[in-house]
């Protein structure tokens, strides 16, 4: 699952790179969403009150469709233009990680049976969630729903995060949205986290800027990739004893052990297998109302009223003129280096002597 502890390293060493934003501030933005990650989330999070997944009468799971349908509508309502990117085949380097996940799921299955025998409701719930896996059927059902809703999707040849990242880098979309931190390692200029989370959780969206991360760590992209591999990625084993703390200190000079797939992992991050973004055309179309109703209501047993209301919102937002942004008219000036740098020095001096009481909002002067 992404890069182990990277968010902590960024939070500690480069707090400026993370901005918290409300979803409504992203109107008009195109975003590429890591679909597999979101579907997995929906399967885990979208549940009934008793912790069971949502199903049709015949027992087919519908949590993922529920999630895709309503969370996409929420984004569209706020003026975003989402497009989903689905995983292709996993890279060969990931086989180790995948095997680990499989054994973890097996273990969870065993634990689940035990818990069921003992009748411990909390444990059943816990292990049930660990057995969740996104199947090809889930994916194809989501793709069908998306095309009915007029939302574009892309099928990546390999890792979806890598495809999202390359689309963001090429300017096809404003940002890549994923919970996986390795989206940054695939050099996505901007990463959005928590975009597809439930509104009820009231989590702000984290907007992470790669250039600011590199700037404040004083790393090149290659050094950053090395750091990520040291922290622990999906593609090769990490070195024992190196975690968020030491990886950051030593990434520039730590000797690379032999017979270790470091080079391959690095190459995978630098040149992942992706579709050329120039060949991708993203088109948001008017939703197929009757088709969606047919699919969700007749086949999957959703409430017709709610589905129709949802599609109404999609249709309405398809038509209205979008609000422009000043950034597209005026150019951003680089911040005046003289003034802030002086203050930073002062800040450090001040920090070492006294810590001042904090102002109510924002970052207090150091």
């Amino acid at each position: 699952m992404g890069i182990h502890g990277l968010i902590k390293v960024i939070g500690d060493h480069s707090p400026n790179a993370i901005r918290h934003n409300e979803i409504k501030n992203y109107f008009g933005r195109k975003v590429a969403i890591d679909a597999s990650m979101s579907i997995y989330q929906f399967l885990i999070a979208v549940r009934q009150q008793d912790g069971q997944q949502l199903t049709t009468e015949s027992g087919e799971t519908t949590s993922h469709l529920m999630g895709i349908f309503y969370r996409t509508i929420r984004m569209v309502e706020h003026g975003l233009k989402p497009c989903y990117v689905f995983d292709g085949k996993p890279p060969t380097l990931k086989s180790g990680e995948l095997a680990k996940r499989l054994s973890r799921r097996k273990e969870a299955n065993v634990n689940l049976e035990e818990a069921q025998e003992l009748g411990d409701a909390a444990d059943i719930d816990k292990f049930l969630r660990r057995t969740v896996k996104v199947t090809p059927e889930h994916n194809s059902e989501c793709k069908k729903l998306l095309s009915l809703m007029g939302i574009p999707y892309v099928e990546a040849p390999c890792e979806a995060e890598a495809q999202c990242a390359v689309m963001a880098r090429d300017g096809k979309v404003y940002a890549a949205a994923s919970e996986d931190m390795d989206t940054l390692t695939f050099s996505s200029p901007i990463l959005l986290r928590h975009l597809t989370f439930s509104e009820a959780r009231k989590l702000p969206i984290d907007e992470i800027h790669l250039s600011k991360v590199l700037g404040s760590l004083d790393f090149t992209m290659n050094q950053f990739i090395d750091l990520c591999i040291l922290l622990g990625c999906d593609y090769c084993d990490s070195i024992k004893g190196i975690g968020p703390h030491r990886a950051n200190l030593d990434a520039k000079k730590y000797p690379i052990p032999e017979d270790w797939k470091f080079e391959e992992a690095r190459e995978l991050f630098l040149n992942p297998e992706v579709l050329d973004p120039k060949g991708i055309e993203l088109k948001w179309k008017e939703p197929d109302v009757e088709g969606t109703v047919e699919y969700l209501v007749r086949e999957k047993g959703f409430s017709e009223d709610r589905v129709r209301k949802g599609i109404d919102k999609l249709e309405k937002n398809f038509k209205i003129a979008t609000q422009g942004r000043l950034d597209s008219f005026f150019t951003t000036l680089p911040s005046d280096p003289k003034v802030p740098s002086k203050r930073k020095n002062e800040g450090e001096k001040a920090k070492s002597t006294v810590s001042r009481p904090k102002a109510k909002r924002g970052r207090p002067r150091k």
């Binding site: 000043l326 109510k360 909002r361 002067r365």
Partner: protein
């Protein structure tokens, strides 16, 4: 050392009222020519740029350029403690300013109150705004502009502004119906605050969010007149001039139809 004494304290109160809804935190950049502020709202749709010239203060002293990072809501609360006729003095140590001190003196000089506002570090993006010759400029009564925005808000969230040679039309269309207000060129009235002056190079038609315009019209108390600058596919400029003391300018990105 930074010190600025404003005999007409109500000006600062009005200024804060005009911008605090739009931006929460901002830097006041001070130098020998005056105090400037530029900030965008969170969604980067609107920008406020204001200038208070040093000539508006008596005395004004700023030895070197520096900026005061302020939570505008807090500053506005403190300024509410000043009377409308009070003389306001701002003071800060430009070397290591961690607070801004404000002093309010009543006109008779019998009541003097002093406040200190903690400052913040705000890292803000600055935009360079090109000098634009607008396709159309309109000078009109600021209260009239405020009323038009308020009235059309009843109909819709957005307003179309169409400027032709001798008239400007504001129109809105919504679920319950439509509405429009037409103002004819009217430069020769005796009262300047009722004038409508249109200068036109090419006719323009643009669409804007009324919610933001309503926000801008909080600048109405600052000036009798407002200037609108419009160019096709460019942000709208809404300017309130405070005589010689400075100006406040709002910029708003237009709404764009589907590509």
């Amino acid at each position: 050392m930074f010190e600025a004494r404003l005999s007409q304290g109500s000006l600062l109160k009005k200024l804060l009222e005009a911008i605090k809804e739009l931006v929460t935190d901002a830097n006041f950049d001070c130098n020998e020519t005056g105090i400037a502020l530029q900030a965008m709202d969170n969604s980067h749709v609107a920008l406020v740029s204001l200038l208070l010239r040093s000539e508006g203060f008596h005395p004004y002293r700023c030895d070197r350029g520096f900026s005061l990072g302020v939570n505008l809501n807090s500053l506005s609360k403190i300024l509410k403690c000043a009377g409308n006729d009070d003389i306001i003095t701002l003071k800060a140590d430009d070397n290591s300013a961690d607070s801004l001190s404000l002093c309010f003196e009543s006109p008779s000089n019998e009541r003097v109150s002093e406040y200190e506002l903690k400052l913040m570090d705000i890292d803000q993006e600055h935009l360079s705004i090109p000098e634009t010759d607008y396709d159309a400029t309109i000078i009109m009564s600021s209260t009239e502009f405020q009323r038009i925005c308020r009235d059309l808000m009843v109909i819709s969230e957005s307003v179309s502004v169409d400027v032709a040679k001798d008239a400007v039309v504001f129109s809105a269309e919504g679920e319950m119906g439509s509405g429009s207000v037409k103002l004819k060129q009217n430069p020769s009235v005796d009262k300047p605050e009722e004038q409508v002056v249109i200068e036109l190079n090419t006719s323009v038609s643009l669409q804007f969010s009324l919610k933001y315009l309503m926000n801008f019209t909080k600048g109405t108390p600052l000036s009798d007149q407002v200037m609108l600058g419009l160019s096709e596919n460019m942000p709208l400029l809404v300017e309130y001039k405070m005589d010689d003391a400075g100006y406040i300018r709002f910029y708003l990105a237009p709404k764009i139809g589907e590509e």
